[in-house]
Symmetry: C2
Subunit: 257 residues, 2 copies
């Protein structure tokens, strides 16, 4: 049985990703550091995408936008966004065409990297408050659903919001809302509590991304805006070219939070 | 002596501005409605400017960014950003070249309008809490200063932050900080309390914009990031072309806040 490495330090995790020594999910690594969804679009679409993020801050809370062609973010000195993520996805005309462990060989001077907040820091804060999260206890990916809730469109970008769902005991719901509301960079307060149908989610047992999770009798399904939204919107909008991280394989920043 | 009209309704104020019946400062009009700094830049520079706002949310809190060529904002149905502001300024290559009462005749399909929060809603909240603001009591413009504090640059946009200053009684400072901190769209908490020299302001009696204001013995000068910053940065960056509102003559939205 192979030993799964654990990385405490963001630079070491990024170096191992760059060298091909690590290609796993980043959850649980570099505790206390902010991890980010990655979206890379050509400069020609960068204004529209930045505007999309500005108009939809719950699914797309911006941590950093790199200057066109730039590989090294301020939030991670000496890092390279084209090599330091454990896995990438390449989309052309809205279709996933390739999964790769680096995109340096595809890099162009007109590409603009967007680092978008993810739910990990909010999950850490919730667990630190003594609330258990079943998908983490079970070592699974969170359950995610496409909804019928339209994002505010911006230029070529438009589509429905993707949400993540976590079953929360009814007595913990208010506390979990309070904790997550304090972390806008991790999607902030929930989008919805309690009724999947109100979001257009027909079958809670069949998530569109990630793994299904059981909801017990005294639990409510709580839904947060999800950082997979821009990937779905890029597909829906048939964006000519973009690169994202592979699900669960985030860009790990040096930022604490 | 001429009668100065008072407009309670944002659409009426905008209509009067459009018809040339009103060309005054908008302070005090449409109480309870959010007023905005206006910045219009060509699409070629819009990504850089949007990124500048995203990186500098205190001086440039975004209320709305219009799609390229669009004149009617969501926050003011039936309005026209090229006619409904009581006064405009046109800059070319970083120089103020013209002050006009409309810019419809200069309009181009590639122009992008940015509506940026201003301090009026925070001033209303402070006064509602019983704190007097001398420049308002005296019917003057607020005192504004260019500082030595660099904004985070973005593409072609870079330069120092402009701040507004209000003398606040020492016993009210904490309360005023709390109130303004709750209103990020109105520049949020102060940038600095107490020491003009720390911001590079050499002579507090000589503001760079607006009117000087006396600071009494039991008062501290309190400094907020100011919406004039993008105008100064556009000048410093020698931006080829942009249009802004004229000082004090804001775009009045329908938004409450």
């Amino acid at each position: 049985m192979s030993h799964v490495p654990f990385f405490d330090s963001p630079p070491e995790l990024r170096r191992a990703s760059r060298n091909g020594e690590f290609c796993g999910a980043t959850t649980g690594h570099a505790p206390g550091r902010i991890q980010a969804n990655l979206m890379i679009v050509p400069k020609a679409e960068a204004f529209d995408f930045l505007l999309f993020c500005q108009r939809n801050p719950k699914p797309c809370p911006l941590i950093e936008v790199l200057a066109p062609g730039t590989l090294e973010p301020l939030c991670a000195p000496n890092a390279n966004i084209a090599t330091d993520v454990p896995g990438y996805r390449v989309y052309r005309d809205g279709e996933l065409v390739e999964e790769r462990d680096e995109v340096a060989s595809l890099w162009r001077d007109d590409l603009v990297g967007f680092l978008i907040g993810c739910s990990f820091s909010f999950e850490s804060a919730v667990r630190a408050a003594g609330v258990r999260l079943r998908h983490i206890d079970q070592g699974r990916n969170v359950a995610m659903y496409r909804t019928s809730v339209a994002c505010v469109p911006a230029g070529i970008f438009g589509g429905e919001m993707v949400v993540s769902m976590r079953p929360i005991r009814s007595r913990d719901v208010a506390r979990v809302v309070e904790i997550s509301a304090r972390l806008p960079i991790a999607h902030g307060a929930p989008l919805h509590v309690g009724n999947p149908a109100a979001l257009g989610v027909a079958d809670i047992a069949r998530p569109d991304y990630g793994d299904p999770v059981e909801i017990l009798d005294d639990e409510l399904p709580v839904f947060w805006a999800c950082g997979v939204t821009p990937q779905w919107v890029a597909q829906r909008s048939r964006l000519g070219f973009c690169i994202t991280h592979a699900p669960g394989k985030m860009f790990v920043t040096d930022l604490e939070g």
